[in-house]
């Protein structure tokens, strides 16, 4: 249980450090910056876990793990989950989420038709801008290439498509 409490505290520390970083530094690759900062905090997690008593001075015996390594491993796993499944996903949603952007546009500008939303998307940048951003990401990861107005899958794009097609069939996603 101590590991879980330490992971919650460290997640809060990590969130504050990220916020300070975003507000004070000119970060270009934000996701990479976030992951880098998280890795830097992992040794701090281990040190805090090692230096604090097994019951943190407040936990009852029923919530105290007799084998500290097991508690540390679960704490680190919880910390990784809170970061990669929580904080990093919050960033992805806030910076790239299509549905969220539509919601923010509707909440800010009031009722709109679909055609109005297509043009107003992301403070007037439009849906084509959004799709160009997605294609840029695919090109950066060498999954597609764009030549003369045509988009083509690369070899690694084909392999990735096969995996995702299988996953979609497994989850019956049309």
């Amino acid at each position: 249980m101590k590991g879980i409490i330490v992971s919650a505290v460290m997640a809060l520390v990590c969130f504050c450090a990220l916020t300070i970083g975003f507000r004070t530094l000119r970060v270009r690759r934000r996701a990479a910056f976030m992951v880098g900062l998280w890795f830097l905090t992992v040794p701090a997690f281990v040190i805090v876990h090692r230096l604090t008593p097994a019951n943190l001075g407040l936990l009852p015996a029923s919530l105290t793990e007799p084998w500290p390594l097991a508690d540390l491993l679960l704490g680190l796993f919880a910390y990784a989950a809170v970061f990669f499944g929580g904080i990093l996903q919050l960033y992805n949603l806030a910076d790239r989420g299509l549905s969220l952007r539509v919601l923010i546009d509707l909440a800010a500008a009031g009722p709109m038709t679909v055609d109005q939303l297509v043009k107003a998307y992301s403070a007037g940048q439009g849906l084509r801008w959004m799709y160009a951003k997605r294609l840029e990401g695919l090109i950066d990861h060498d999954l597609v290439r764009c030549d003369g107005g045509c988009v083509t899958l690369t070899a690694s794009g084909r392999r990735t498509a096969i995996v995702f097609a299988w996953l979609q069939r497994a989850l019956r996603i049309e």
Binding site: M1, G3, T19, F22, R23, S62, L63, T64, E65, P66, W67, A70, D71, L73, L74, A80, A81, V82, Y91, N92, A94, D95, G97, L98, S99, L100, R101, V102, L103, I104, L106, A107, P111, M112, T113, V114, D115, L117, V118, Y121, S122, L127, R128, R134, L135, L138, G149, V151, T152, L153, G157, R158, T160, A161, F164, A165, L167, Q168, L171, R172
Partner: protein
Amino acid sequence: MSEIGRSPTLVGVFVGVGWFLVFLSAQVAAFHVLDIRERFRAIVALLTATMVGAVLTTTTLAHIDRLGGSVLPALSGVVTMACLWVLYMPFYYVIATSLSVRTLLMLASVEEATLPLEQLEARFASAAMLHERLATMTTYRNVAAHGAVFTATSKGKATAAVFGVLKRLWELGPGG
């Protein structure tokens, strides 16, 4: 080995991993057998049911094998499952809704794996695509449709406000 077997946390972790695999299998089976419209709700219901299974399993193990109480293994099991779920869901949404993934699949489905950019834009940067997305948002009551006009519901406005604060806090710009 005996130390591992006597660790309430590790027992809970192993039980949690086991029940998470049951959750994944049940999800795949349910999606194949049933026609589920609100899939997120179904996923949450399945997760809750399997978490109850994990708690019952750790409680039983604690009674038959002295683990020093049932609270810590149960808690460890539930936390393990919650962590695995938190890591799994973004992956699920990439498989289910990502436009990048859909682009790769569309390209893979055609000869020579090549399409004109306009054709891709017509599919993925169009009113039709947005209509599909708005239909999902309407199902989850984030958006309400009044004829051809869409509005954010109070639930949708609350979500937009929370993320608006986060965007300002992290100085992210419009994004999307």
